[in-house]
């Protein structure tokens, strides 16, 4: 696992049934592009988050593939429909095989 990786998401705690809500997500990650060289001139190997998925109660909101052109500390903002109370599950997939996830609950009210 890369060091200092920390997922953050911003989801409203409450919504009315059927509401469209805005979600922001960010994970601290270097997103080493594979294009840079170290001081000795050797290529620094690529190491990025290559996929980010969001599901609500098991159904897909967004499934995003990421390439090295995504900036350090990948940030994604998008919208989701909330038909009922439930859980958003956010998952980030690292080149090194690590998987990071976090869950946020939304209440109806």
């Amino acid at each position: 696992m890369a060091s200092g990786v920390k997922p953050r998401v911003k989801v409203p705690k409450k919504a009315a049934a059927g509401d469209v809500i805005t979600i922001k997500s960010l994970i601290s990650h270097k997103m080493e592009s594979g294009q840079r060289k170290d001081k000795e001139g050797n290529l620094i190997p690529r190491s990025i988050i290559n996929r980010f998925t969001v599901e609500f109660n098991g159904q897909s909101v967004l499934d995003m593939t990421m390439e090295p052109a995504i900036s350090t500390n990948p940030y994604v903002q998008f919208e989701a429909t909330v038909p009922e109370a439930g859980d958003f599950v956010f998952t980030w997939y690292d080149d090194d095989g690590s998987v990071y996830d976090t869950t946020k609950s939304v209440a109806i009210g």
């Binding site: 920390k6 953050r8 911003k10 922001k24 500390n73 940030y75």
Partner: protein, 286 residues
Amino acid sequence: MTKPMGKTLTAIALAAVAFGSVASADETAELVVNGDLNMVTRTAAPAHLSDVLDEINSGWLYRKDETQSLQTDDFDNPGMIFVDLAQDEWDTVEGTEDKSCASCHDDVEDSMKGVRAVYPKWNETAGEVRTLAMQINDCRVNQMGADKWKYTGGDMAGMEALISVQSRGMPVDVAIDGPAQSTWEEGKEMYYTRTGQLDLSCANCHEENYGNMIRADHLSQGQINGFPTYRLKNAKLNTSHARFKGCVRDTRAETYKPGSSEFVALELYVASRGNGLSVEAPAVRN
């Protein structure tokens, strides 16, 4: 020390580094963070600057809309990632004394409120002006029995940011008189001293040419109320001393070391030029 330059000399020096005069960023914008934290980004210059400046401006004003907006919401501000990580560090026990920051200082939100606004600050016991970073390392070594952090490293920048956040929106108010005065005078002298092959002082760019373009860069007043600041160019928090080093290097001079007595003096002086601006750290800059 070089004497303050006349207009002719200034013109020659400026032509050499090709200042333009196109200002494209929005210098009238208002900075409100998280919808409710109003920042003072322009205000009357402190009395000690009355001969040279009427108004002091945050560097935020000199950035383009996209960069400015990154600082208006803590979730959008990548610098806050490092504040989160530093919060974990605050609670982490380290060193031979089995202490964390929290062991002595409890809740950072209470104990560190207002601290950043008055640093660098005279320390009576030590008999010297101390920066926040010096104080953090003093705590680590003498209270925790832990190793020093690198002065401009990620741990230090993060901890400075965490402490600074507790003062966000408060006016910078560093003391320049009393026992701090001689250090402040030393910093002032450095600010106006030309260095390097390009023969530039801090003032050449940041007092005489703020608002102008230096090639593709929009020059600010070089205020440090937003430090440590997240820079897009290196995607991490940058301390004021690391920035000083970059600036001095860009004049093609041998630079002072971060944490050196020279840079401590310069930090006190530059901080005092921002007395009255809000503490913005961690700011977002290009």
